[in-house]
Every structure is written in C-alpha cells, then in structure tokens.
C-alpha cells in the first residue's frame, strides 16, 4: 500500500469524525446565552444556569423549562446559561463545572439531579442549587417537589367520570418516585369516582421513543382503556398519537398539550415552572435562600394567587364534550384539594 493512500484514508476518516463531532456538540449546546445583561441597580447580574438531561426541543418537560428560564432572564436581566441533553453519568461533573464557573444559582431540572446536587453542593457552599422535582435538600440545596399527585388526581377523576368502558390507562417513561407519585394520584382520583374502575399501567423505560409510547398506548386501548394519560415526555407524543388514531381521549402532562392533537387531548395538568424558578431566583436575590424541600400544590389556573404551581388546562374546543355536571364536580374537587378538604397522599411506591 502506498504512503499516499494511507494518508488519504486517515485524512478522510478524521475529517468525517470531526464533522460529526462538531455537529453533535453544536446540537447539544445550541442555545448557550452567555452574554450578561446588567441588572438595574445591583451592579452585577445574577448568574444562573439551567441544566437538564432532557431536550429543549421535547415539546414538554424540557421546552417548558427553557421558555420559563428565557422569560425570567428578560424579567431579571439574568446572566443565564442553559444546557440540555446531559447524559445521566455526566450529571455530577456538569454540576461541578457550573459551580466552578461561579454561578449564583443552578437550577437542576429533573429528579435524577437530586443526589448529585447534594454531593456537589457540599463542596460549593456559595452556589445555591434548586432541584426541580427532586427530593433532596441541604444547606444550599433546595428541591421543589410539586404535589403533582393533586393534579393527576383531578385528571383521574375526570377520566373516571367520562370513561365508557370503565377502564383507563397510563404510560410512564420511568418508574421514578416523582412519576410513580403522579400515577398513584391518578388512580386515587379515578377510584374516588368509581371504586371498581380498572386502571392499567405501562412503564416503557424511555422518555425519547414515541414509537414505543404509541405501541404501549395501543396495547392499553386493546385491553379496553378509553382514556390514556402519559408522563413520558417525547414518548408520550406517541401515546397521544395512539389515542388519536383510535378515537379516544388522551390527557397531557407538564405543558398544555392541546395543540398536539386538538380533538384528542381533553386537558392536561400543567406545571408552572416559571413561577417555581421565579421563586428560587427571588430567594437568591434577596439573600434568604433556604435549603428546604418545597412542595407547592394545586392552583385554580395559571397565575392564581397562592403558591401552587400545578393547574389543569382548559378544555379548549372540547369544552362542549364535557357535561356541565362533570365540570361542576371537577371544580368542586379542585376547590376541595386547595382548601385541604381532600388530601391526596404522596406515594412514591407503586400500589396495586
């Protein structure tokens, strides 16, 4: 073999890999917003990082967090960095990197960031960490664990009131405690209306595979479910697609997913992340950060007073499909949960 061809072979391979590497890194760090905007009087803007293992293009969990952080950047003139698509093994090093860079507040977006945040937090006392849907806390690490079971309780009640088959289903991405908790709320809500209702469940071990989500949904429908609820992020889009094709209702999660399938998504339970992040930023700005485990619950609608961050989206064009007495009972349930008359216990272990 001639020397020249050897060189061209290697050059070719290296060029190919380099192009690929540039594109990969380019795509996972598409939205760094490093330029600092000076805050009004304080002098230096607050340095905040939003880190997540999800994708900002997921149309739900990640996208909502990204949009919330952008809105708050405008509002407070933050020096904001956002990073998505962090591999699970890289969570701790990533947290360390951003603590090293002198961030005042790191918002770690996802349950699986809880323990690493605690470990890294111990080494960086000047940085505050807030884990969204986490369950850990320490002196400079707070977690926001929304009482999502309250939102899913309402959805379960709705599904039970409107189900014709007496069977409803759910699809979960992973059996994380926060997700198990959501489905336990769903079950309790459904059984509060109809004690004999069958609630079928599926965990599909992925948040990013809509094809598998869809087949899981089809399998639930084949077994009689006429309501599908998902907490599976991108995989959940497949679940909604299954409901759409089979002409049954689906229930969305995290964001108002009405636009994904306007005749299929009856309603969604929404997390007001902007409100949660806003609270965290205020604490850091005012110097009264407290490393607690915060558990905000249900509120009547977006922007309602009180400290709830979970609300039920409107029915939009399907409003006329929901009977007046169902709406009335739902409103009553929401009121009763907010007033404390109905207590939806938190359950992070799956029950039957």
């Amino acid at each position: 073999m001639s020397k020249r061809s050897e060189v061209s072979r290697i050059t070719g391979a290296v060029a190919g890999i380099m192009v690929a590497v540039i594109l990969i890194t380019g795509s996972s760090f598409s939205y760094p917003t490093l330029e600092g905007v000076w805050a009004q009087e304080e002098g230096t803007p607050l340095k905040v990082a939003l880190l997540t293992d999800a994708l900002f293009s997921d149309g739900g969990w990640g996208a909502t967090a990204y949009n919330a952080s952008q809105a708050l950047k405008e509002k407070y003139g933050l020096e904001l960095t956002t990073v998505e698509n962090v591999a699970i093994p890289d969570i701790e090093p990533t947290l360390r990197d951003f603590a090293d860079q002198g961030n005042d507040l790191i918002i770690a977006h996802g349950f699986e960031w809880g323990d690493p945040a605690l470990r890294v937090g111990a080494d960086y006392p000047d940085t505050k960490f807030v884990v969204f849907t986490g369950l850990t806390n320490g002196s400079n690490v707070a977690s926001v664990f929304p009482m999502q079971q309250e939102g899913s309780y309402v959805l379960g009640a709705l599904a039970a009131m409107m189900s014709k088959t007496g069977t409803i289903g759910f699809v979960g991405g992973q059996a994380y405690p926060n997700i198990v908790n959501i489905f336990e709320g769903y079950k309790q809500g459904a059984r509060s209306i109809n004690p004999d209702i069958k609630v079928l469940g599926q965990y599909i071990d992925t948040f990013t595979d809509p094809a598998r989500g869809k087949e899981a949904g089809v399998s639930l429908i084949n077994n009689g479910a006429d309501f599908l609820f998902h907490v599976a992020d991108l995989s959940g889009q497949g679940v909604i697609q299954a409901a759409k094709e089979k002409g049954i209702y689906a229930l969305g999660v995290v964001a108002d997913q009405h636009n994904l399938a306007p005749d299929t998504v009856l309603t969604s339970f929404v997390l007001d992340m902007e409100k949660a992040f806003d609270g965290a930023i205020k604490m850091v700005q005012n110097g009264n950060f407290s490393g607690q485990l915060y558990k905000p619950g249900l509120e009547t609608a977006k922007g309602a007073s009180g400290d709830g961050i979970v609300f039920i989206a409107p029915f939009h064009n399907l409003d006329s499909e929901v009977p007046a007495d169902v709406k009335q009972r739902l409103n009553q349930i929401v009121q009763d949960i907010i007033s404390g008359k109905i207590v939806v216990p938190e359950r992070t272990e799956a029950s039957s």
Binding site: M1, R9, I10, T11, G12, A13, G16, I17, V19, A20, V21, I22, L23, I24, G26, S27, S28, S30, Y31, L55, F56, S57, D58, G59, G60, A63, T64, Y66, N67, A175, L200, G201, Q202, D205, T206, T208, D209, P210, A211, R212, K214, E215, A216, V218, S219, L220, N222, N223, L234, Q237, G238, Q241, E245, A255, D256, Q257, H258, N259, L260, A261
Partner: protein
C-alpha cells in the same frame, strides 16, 4: 385471549418494520463488501427528511421521496469514504452515524426552534386489503396495516430476487466475495459498491420515515431509538439472506410487543426485565448463530486494483 395475541403479533409487525426496511438495504451494501455502521444515522436523517418534506408540502409521497433521498446522500458519503478513500469501514460508518444524529437534531432545531408543542403531520392510516383482511386471525394480523408495511412485505421477495436471480445481483455478490476476480471479469467493483451502499441508504430512509410518518406523525431527536443497530444485528442473524433477515427483525419486534402486552395484562415479572428482552434475545441468538454465519468474504475490506 385470541384478540390479545392478535394484538401483540400485529404490534410486533409494526414495531419490526423500520428495522426490517433498514436491514434489507444494509444487506445489499454488505453483500457488496461494505459494512455500513451508519444505518442508525441514516434512519434519523430519513425520519427528519420525510417529516419536513411532508410538513412543508403536505404531500406524504413527496415526504417519502425526501426521506429516501436524504440518506442516499449520506450513503454516497459513506461510499466515498470507504470505497474511494478506502478508509477503515468501521470508523467511517461510526462517523456517518454520529453525523446523522447531529445533523438531524441540528436541522430540526434550525427549522422549528424550541417549541412547547411539537409540530405534527397526519400519519399514514391503515389500509384494509379487500377480502383478505376479513380472514379470521390472519386478516387482522397481516392485512390490516398501512401502505408502507405492504411495501416492506413486497420488498422482501424483491430484494431476494434482486440479489440471487438477476445479473446485477450476481455482480454485487461476486464483488462482496472476491472483488479481484470480479475486476478481472470486467466488473467495475467501485461502481457496484457505490450503488449497493446508496441503495442501502434509500432503504434506511424508508425505515426512518416509517417511524416519523406512520408511527408518530412527528420528529424528535433520537426517534430511531436504536432500530438501526437492530437492523445490523438482523442482517447477521439472517446470515445475509433476505427471508431470514425478516425473521431477525420480526423476533425483535415480537419480543418488544410481548413485553408491552404482558405489562398491560399485569404480571409479577418486573417491567425492567421484560423491556430488556428485546436486546437480550438477539444477543443470545447471535451468540449461537455466529459460528454458523457466513459473511461475505470481502466484507469490510477495501479493494484496490493491483494490490495483492
């Protein structure tokens, strides 16, 4: 019970279709002696191109044409690297995979930005074949699917005939077994390899677009979810023969569908174990089959005229 089984088998067929398309194409490339590990990347590009084509034009046929062309360009690049530049095929294939992953994600972001509700296109609906779809059991399993699955069914015998009954198929196989001999007989080795790899790209594109246009009606990063790798395993499992490759892809889809079905029925087996099966089983089968498998002799070996 019978409905439950029908449901699972029909679901298994749907779940195996993307990797089946890709495997049938990859087989043609490998038969010519080029191991293209970039199938997964090409499927992602196919899924993206098919989605964007359908989204922009509103016509699913144009979407599928997009889905086929995008990966063909990627495959041409693979052929350039591995046939013309004679780089290590494993390295070139991995580069194509990573390129596809990054490029599809990047283009999607550039087009749509960060949205809280993903853009969608209508999915291709199932199409009952008259009379056949009303056969008990077999009807709902085989004849109640979308047009792309029927196309996949059709491509199985067609690729077999193409490889084993046509002159060009003979050339492809000869080039994959003994390129030097083929060259001596006046077969243009490089041209045959380019063609085979590019055909493989087109098939991968069909597989990718199946996910985006039939299953989900949307695109997301990583939507191929490892199906390209399953396709590569199916080719080995099938010992480079289309009818056996079908079986390989189908086993994967069936195990996957069964895992989902059993969970719905409620079992005491932990769901993690059920979800592991689709990957465990192919590994087990490969371990048994590999000894007997007869790969094309010149697989993954670059050819240079006049070299000993």
């Amino acid at each position: 019970m019978i409905d439950f089984i029908i449901g699972i088998v029909a679901s298994g067929i749907r779940m195996s279709t993307p990797s089946l398309f890709a495997a049938l194409g990859e087989n043609i490339a490998e038969r010519s002696g080029v191991l293209n590990l970039g199938v997964e990347g090409m499927m992602l590009i196919g899924a993206f191109a098919g989605f964007i084509g359908t989204f922009v034009t509103g016509n699913v046929i144009i979407g599928i044409l997009f889905a086929v062309s995008g990966p063909m360009v990627m495959a041409a690049l693979m052929a350039f690297l591995s046939v013309s530049l004679r780089t290590n095929q494993l390295v070139a294939g991995l580069a194509i995979w990573l390129l596809g992953v990054g490029l599809a994600a990047l283009l999607y972001r550039l087009t749509f930005g960060v949205v809280t509700v993903a853009p969608t296109v209508p999915t291709i609906p199932p199409l009952d074949i008259p009379f056949l779809s009303s056969i008990p059991v077999l009807g709902p399993i085989i004849f109640h699917h979308d047009a792309m699955i029927y196309l996949a069914f059709l491509l199985i015998p067609l690729t077999h005939i193409f490889l084993f009954k046509t002159n060009i198929g003979l050339k492809i196989r000869t080039v994959g077994e003994n390129p030097k001999q083929a060259d001596t007989l006046g077969v243009n080795v490089n041209r045959i390899r380019y063609m085979s790899v590019i055909i493989g790209g087109a098939f991968a594109g069909l597989g990718g677009s199946y996910i985006a246009l039939v299953t989900t009606g949307s695109f997301s990063e990583d939507i191929a979810a490892g199906q390209g790798w399953i396709a590569l395993a199916a080719v080995i499992f099938g010992r480079w023969r289309p009818f056996w490759i079908v079986l390989g892809a189908f086993v994967y889809g069936m195990v996957n569908a069964t895992a989902l079905g059993l969970q719905t029925k409620g079992t005491t087996i932990p769901f993690q174990f059920l979800l592991m099966l689709p990957y465990l089983l192919p590994i087990a089968i490969l371990a048994v089959m590999y000894k007997k498998s007869v790969a094309p002799a010149a697989l993954a070996t670059p050819y240079k005229r006049g070299e000993r």
